[in-house]
């Protein structure tokens, strides 16, 4: 069972007079099946915390462990493999590559460490069916609506079956209807998968859908 543990994680930007301390000793422990919403005012460090959890950015202090392993202690290639296999990311901007079809975009993470796992395409198709885009497989991102793009991004994040699904303002660019649909989709998938879901949002309405909510206050994480 996957566990995530953050111990006194701190993060600062800049140096000298321009130094800004965003996170000041965040402690957090989560386990598989947890679905957590992280809220906080702008600049409170929500996204920074998520980037650290997803090994996209290094903490300035403290430690991160996923199943007892510090991903930042891994060599570059293994760290990349960690991001590929253990973490699934959904960004506020979908970051679908315009030159590829929806199916190809979803398949993209399976190509990071060739050869792709057997049945990758079937998994991608199934996921797209699951997020309601079974009829859009051959479409380009430019031909999708905002909500559809974000759902495709969710499918892409899940294609390698990650233990951690991390979403950074996944509804930030969506209207309310689509935002709620995407949030519900994430929660449904979380329930189906039984893995760990962390969603960063500034939307109280989105956060309200989560059973567990955390807030970042002055660089520290507290239960809402």
């Amino acid at each position: 069972m996957t566990t995530l543990r953050l111990t006194a994680v701190g993060k600062t930007f800049g140096a000298g007079a321009t130094r800004v301390e965003v996170l000041r000793g965040v402690d957090l422990a989560l386990a598989a099946g947890d679905a957590v919403a992280v809220t906080g005012p702008s600049g409170s460090g929500k996204s920074t915390l998520l980037h650290i959890v997803g090994a996209l950015d290094r903490p300035s202090s403290g430690g991160v462990e996923v199943d007892g392993t510090d991903p930042f202690a891994l060599p570059e290639r293994e760290l990349a493999r960690f991001r590929n296999r253990t973490v699934g990311f959904v960004f506020q901007d979908h970051h679908l590559l315009p030159q590829y079809t929806v199916l190809e975009n979803v398949l993209l993470p399976t190509l990071a460490f060739p050869p792709p796992p057997a049945g990758a395409e079937a998994t991608a198709r199934r996921l797209l069916e699951r997020v309601g885009l079974g009829h859009r497989l051959a479409h380009r991102p430019a031909e999708l609506s905002g909500g559809e793009r974000q759902r495709a991004a969710v499918a892409r994040a899940l294609v390698n079956g990650p233990a951690l699904l991390l979403c950074d303002e996944p509804t930030g660019n969506l209207d309310r209807t689509n935002a709620m649909a995407v949030t519900d989709l994430l929660l449904e998938l979380e329930e189906e998968r039984g893995k760990l879901l962390v969603v960063v949002t500034h939307s109280a309405e989105v956060a309200a859908r989560f059973a567990r909510r955390l807030t970042l206050v002055e660089g520290r994480c507290v239960e809402a």
Binding site: A80, Q99, A157
Partner: protein
């Protein structure tokens, strides 16, 4: 990847075009190199037709050697020819051309050019004998078929002109031949034939061989001086040629003859003589070796003509005196005093008279005799000298004393019925001839009337041409060689069945007796065989030339044109590659979120880089494929330039496009590598960029303080510049040029790096929005994307660097040729003659002296050879050599091997290892001969011996750029056959130079005198350098255009990326025109920074050159050029400014 390539086709197309330009320029430069080589090879092959090789001799040899040689080389075609240097005049117009090659050829020669229509020169169709002339000569003289030509040339002489026997008035040595032009031959083909590779058009005249032989050679068996050969079986047309020639040569070809008349009493004797009158040291040594091998007694003899032998009041006029030692063996004949005792050996002050002379002079032993004789000094100074000698005794008129062969055939004397019929090449007073002298002549001919010791003879009459006139050999004692064959009156010069192959197995030094066949078992045959074995073709003055191989080798060129044009195009190549890299980088930056995503979903950074690198390489390959067509076009354009605007660089429009697949492939590969490197450089930061930043669209170093690396790079580059400057101060010319460029490059790097360091730290002032604030903002904005700004500054700085360096190197103000320290050495005219001059120029006639008007004429000996200046595209292997007189001084030396008040004195100082001191022009030595001070240029002397010319002095931009200069003494030693003076420096006042030249050309037209102002000669050399600099400027200008284009792209991209920023400024109250000003100011700042850095680096790099030449940079014209560059850059920025005007700022603001 395919999807990405298609999706981003627009930016990719730009990259492909950038790569295509890189390929076109880089490969095009290589194509120029190939074209040079290919064109020169074509010229060589056209010039030679089927001719593969040549046998060239210093003196004419028997024509039948051609058939003998052909018989030894199965399938070979050998054509004999007689070639002379001549001057030609077209009498109708008076047009004159010097340096004409006159060829006497037979139909065999033209058959070596299969595509040539048959040429018949033996049949006279006009008023005079028929001639075929090259198109080049016909054009120069304005001659056409039917025109008359008058050719003047020196008649070949067996006897060296600079000996008493060979001396002749120049008017008597010049032969004139009047011809009718029958055919004008195209320059390509037989018309352009010549022994030396050259790209200039050949001035050739071909006449019937027999006609020329009749005109210039003495009666007898026909002779030639060149054999031209083609084909033959075997792996190479020239394989074994030397051995075949060696075997085919007869003794007469080797310059010796045997006379077997024997003495009137006593043993039979062979007399070895030379048609050159004197026997040189090499041949004399060979005879001595053969005599030793055969154990044959030998007696060297030097016979000379005395003007008078006087004792008391009596005098015997015009008598020969033989210098010899008494014979060591009786076989050489009796040599007895009148008392019957053997004649005594003579001391250095003694003389023996024969009985006739003693009686005529009433002389007795102990009397003092005075011998007067002519001595030939330098430059034909004929002086009468006397020597007092004591009469040691009187020899009987018998045996050796009356051997007529003691005196070789004396030109103008031999064959005369009586003394009054003499016509010797020196003044004689025939009124002094008495009846008894005629009686002696009738009975004894030129038999010596007196004898002196051999040492005294050498002292008085020896010369660099030799110290013997004959060598007598007697059969070894106890062996009756003569009993088998031979006898009085037999001239032993023929081969007569005693082929050289009989001696081919024996090497020098081995005894001959065991190797001779039955046919050679007589003394004369053994002597002949021995001499032929001892004398090889080289020592006899024959040279075998593999013309085709040499020509193709020389066609590689003295200058590496591929490297040269690569260098000239380097700025363009770098600009294109950087532009391609920049465009690719912009594309990558545009796709930063994609990179971020790939890395966020687990793609390793290296894999992402490889993916983009793969895209970049594919684009580079596509660009290279596209650019190969451009390479052909670029190469063609450069060659077209070399045939027109840049023609002075190559002299003749002879270069045409040659495309070689291997070169195209190499160029494409190199271009892909270069562009790939630029792409890799563009991707370098991808791996280091934070994923989060990439996702946000940035590949910058967000959050990190500015690096101090630029500062360190700048300091290191400054230190490198200082080090290179120090190294350049003591380096030789070629290295110094490279080091100076290195200094400039280092300073350029330092400037750009320090700009980067400074730009990163430029503080935004509090009054940024106030007066002057826009400028500060603009400066600060340039640091927003430092990489792009640096690229712009680098391109601009490099362009300005090139402009300044080229401007400095083009400086060569008016040369004061009258200044002894100038490249002209104080001489305003340089002249050459087709016929050598043997005396002071002023002595050639009153008209000449008047024309000179007191001007000095310094004569040089000249060995024709290949031009070693930049005017010759071929790689010279046989440099033209000048023999400088000891009085030469002046000129500007840039390097010498030792400190001397007059560095020319270095030529006379012997070198311990036997090398010959030589002086050359620094440019020619460095760039054409690829040598330097203290290094050796190896060549062969006249005897085929390798000689090393050690460069002991280098001249700066002198008139000696086409040749190397050695001392006259060394010249005479190594090239004794090259008699007379054919090269002159004259110092009339520069204002009168043209008039003096015209007058001298008129007076000395018969000698083919051709004078050129030294100013013109220097200008011709300088034109080559200037042309290359123009080429560099032009190509650098194209690079500048590319750089400007790149800058425009960068600015436009900056503006587009900053839409939101500009919108914000607009919202803050900035009006559009202020935003435009801001963009313009940014550009102006980058331009000014680049211009300043480039100009400063250029000025520093050229400072040593300017200091040495005393010139100053032409700042006004440079400032104008730099201003034009600035204006061009500002023009490019208007693209960005227009974009600002069209930006939907409000929409951008809303989007933000």
């Amino acid at each position: 990847m395919r999807r990405s390539l298609i999706h981003y086709w627009r930016p990719h197309l730009a990259v492909v075009l950038g790569a295509a330009v890189t390929t076109a320029v880089l490969t095009g430069a290589l194509v120029v190199g190939d074209s040079l080589r290919g064109s020169l090879e074509d010229l060589t092959l056209d010039r030679l037709g089927r001719i593969d090789w040549a046998v060239v001799a210093e003196r004419p040899f028997r024509q039948t050697l051609a058939a003998d040689l052909a018989a030894r080389r199965a399938g070979a075609h050998v054509a004999p020819a007689l070639t002379l240097r001549a001057s030609a005049t077209e009498p109708a117009s008076g047009a004159r051309a010097s340096g004409v090659a006159l060829w006497g050829v037979d139909p065999d020669f033209f058959s070596l050019y299969p595509s040539l229509e048959p040429v018949d020169l033996a049949t006279r169709r006009g008023a005079f004998p028929a001639a075929a002339v090259s198109r080049a000569l016909a054009d120069e003289l304005g001659a056409t078929a039917g025109s008359e030509l008058v050719l003047a040339f020196e008649r070949p002489s067996d006897v060296p002109r600079e000996t008493l026997a060979g001396r002749q008035e120049s008017s008597e040595t010049v032969e004139v031949l009047r011809l009718t032009v029958d055919r004008v031959l195209p320059d390509r083909g037989a018309g352009g034939f010549g022994l030396a590779p050259r790209q200039t058009r050949a001035r050739n005249v071909f006449v019937d061989l027999r006609r020329l032989q009749r005109a210039v050679l003495a009666r007898g068996s026909p002779r030639v001086n060149v054999l031209l050969g083609a084909g033959g079986e075997g792996e190479s047309a020239t394989a074994g040629l030397e051995a075949d020639l060696d075997a085919a040569l007869r003794l007469e070809d080797l310059g010796l003859s045997l006379r077997c008349d024997g003495c009137r009493e006593g043993a039979e004797v062979i007399t070895v003589q030379s048609p050159r009158f004197v026997i040189d040291d090499v041949r004399a040594a060979a005879v001595a070796r053969v005599a030793a091998e055969l154990e044959a007694p030998m007696q060297p003899v030097l016979t000379y003509l005395a003007n008078a032998i006087s004792i008391g009041g009596r005098s015997v006029p015009y008598s020969t005196i033989a210098a010899l030692e008494p014979p060591a063996a009786s076989a050489l004949g009796p040599f007895r005093s009148i008392d019957g005792q053997p004649a005594p050996a003579l001391a250095g002050d003694e003389i023996l008279l024969n009985r006739w002379a003693a009686e005529d002079l009433a002389a007795a032993a102990g009397d003092e005799a005075t011998v007067s004789y002519y001595a030939l000094g330098p430059r034909d100074e004929l002086a009468t000298r006397t020597r007092r000698l004591r009469v040691r005794g009187v020899v009987a008129m018998e045996g050796l004393a009356v051997d007529p062969y003691l005196t070789p055939e004396f030109p103008g004397i031999e064959g005369a019925e009586d003394i009054t019929a003499w016509n010797p090449p020196f003044p004689v007073d025939l009124s002094r001839i008495r009846p008894q002298d005629e009686a002696y002549w009738d009975e004894y001919r030129a038999t010596p009337k007196a004898f002196v010791g051999a040492a005294l003879g050498r002292e008085l009459w020896g010369s660099r041409f030799g110290s013997l006139t004959s060598i007598r050999l007697a059969a070894p004692p106890g062996e009756d060689y003569w009993s088998a064959k031979g006898g009085p009156g037999k001239e032993g010069s023929g081969k007569e069945g005693s082929g050289k192959e009989g001696s081919g197995e024996g090497g020098p030094g081995e005894g001959a007796s065991g190797e001779l066949g039955a046919g050679e078992a007589d003394f004369r045959a053994r002597v002949e065989a021995g001499l032929r074995r001892r004398l090889d073709p080289h020592t006899a003055g024959f040279a075998v030339r593999a013309l085709r191989e040499e020509g193709l080798r020389a066609a590689r060129g003295a200058t590496d044109f591929a490297g040269l044009f690569f260098g000239l195009s380097l700025f363009l190549i770098v600009s294109a590659a950087l532009l391609a890299g920049l465009l690719f980088r912009l594309g990558v930056e545009h796709r930063a979120p994609e990179v971020g995503l790939l890395r966020a979903i687990g793609f390793p950074a290296a894999r992402v880089r490889r993916r983009f690198l793969g895209e970049g390489l594919l684009l580079a390959v596509a660009g290279a494929a596209l650019g190969l067509g451009g390479a052909a076009a670029y190469g063609w354009a450069l060659l077209a330039g070399l045939r027109s605007w840049w023609l002075p660089a190559i002299g003749e429009p002879v270069l045409f496009l040659h495309l070689r697949p291997a070169t195209l492939a190499l160029g494409a590969l190199a271009s892909v590598t270069v562009v790939g490197a630029a792409v890799a450089g563009a991707l370098r930061r991808l791996g280091r960029a934070p994923i989060v930043g990439l996702l946000a669209g940035s590949i910058g170093r967000d959050g990190r303080p500015p690096s101090r690396r630029p500062l360190w790079i700048g300091l290191v580059a400054l230190a490198a510049a200082a080090g290179l400057t120090a190294a350049a101060l003591g380096a030789e010319a070629r290295a110094a040029a490279g080091l100076a460029f290195g200094v400039g490059a280092s300073l350029l790097t330092a400037g750009v790096a320090l700009f980067a360091h400074h730009g990163a730290r430029k503080p935004l002032r509090a009054n940024a929005l106030g007066r002057g604030g826009a400028a500060t903002m603009a400066v600060r904005n340039t640091a927003r994307n430092r990489g792009r700004s640096l690229l712009c500054v680098t391109l601009m700085a490099s362009a300005c660097f090139v402009i300044v360096v080229v401007a400095a190197n083009r400086l060569h103000g008016e040369i004061d040729v009258a200044d002894p320290a100038s490249g002209a050495g104080g001489f305003s005219l340089v002249a050459e003659t087709d016929v050598p001059v043997y005396r002071e120029l002023a002595a050639e006639g009153a008209g000449v002296a008047a024309a000179l008007g007191g001007a000095r004429a310094v004569p040089f000996r000249l060995l024709p050879g290949e031009d070693v200046s930049c005017l010759n595209l071929y790689q010279p292997e046989r440099p033209r050599i000048l023999g400088a007189p000891p009085e030469l001084a002046g000129f500007r030396f840039v390097q010498t091997a030792g400190e001397r008040a007059n560095p020319w004195e270095l030529l006379a100082e012997p070198l311990a290892d036997g090398a010959i001191p030589a002086i050359g022009d620094a440019n020619s030595v460095a760039w054409i001969l690829h040598s330097g001070l203290g290094q050796d240029v190896v060549m062969e002397n006249e005897r085929g011996e390798p000689i090393r010319l050690r460069l002991v002095g280098l001249l700066g931009k002198s008139i000696f750029q086409s040749e190397l200069v050695i001392s006259e003494a060394q010249f005479e030693r190594h090239f004794p056959s090259r008699t007379g003076y054919s090269y002159f420096l004259l110092d009339p006042p520069p204002a009168n130079a043209d008039a003096v030249a015209a007058a001298l050309e008129k007076e000395l037209g018969r000698l083919g005198f051709d004078a050129v102002a030294t100013r013109e000669r220097l200008a011709a050399y300088q034109a080559v350098e200037d042309t290359y600099l123009s080429t560099f400027q032009t190509l650098g200008g194209l690079g500048l255009v590319l750089g400007t284009l790149g800058m425009g792209v960068v600015l436009l991209r900056n503006v587009l990326e900053r839409q939101a920023e500009l919108a914000t400024l607009s919202a803050l109250g900035f009006r559009r025109h202020r935003l435009r000003d801001l963009v313009l100011l940014e550009n102006a700042f980058l331009l000014l920074a680049g211009l300043t850095i480039g100009a400063a680096a250029g000025a520093a790099a050229t400072a040593p050159h300017l200091a040495a030449s005393g010139e100053r940079l032409p700042w006004p014209s440079l400032a104008l050029t730099l201003a034009a560059v600035f204006a061009l850059g500002m023009l490019a920025s208007t693209v960005a400014v227009r974009a600002v005007a069209r930006l939907p700022l409000l929409a951008s603001l809303r989007a933000r």
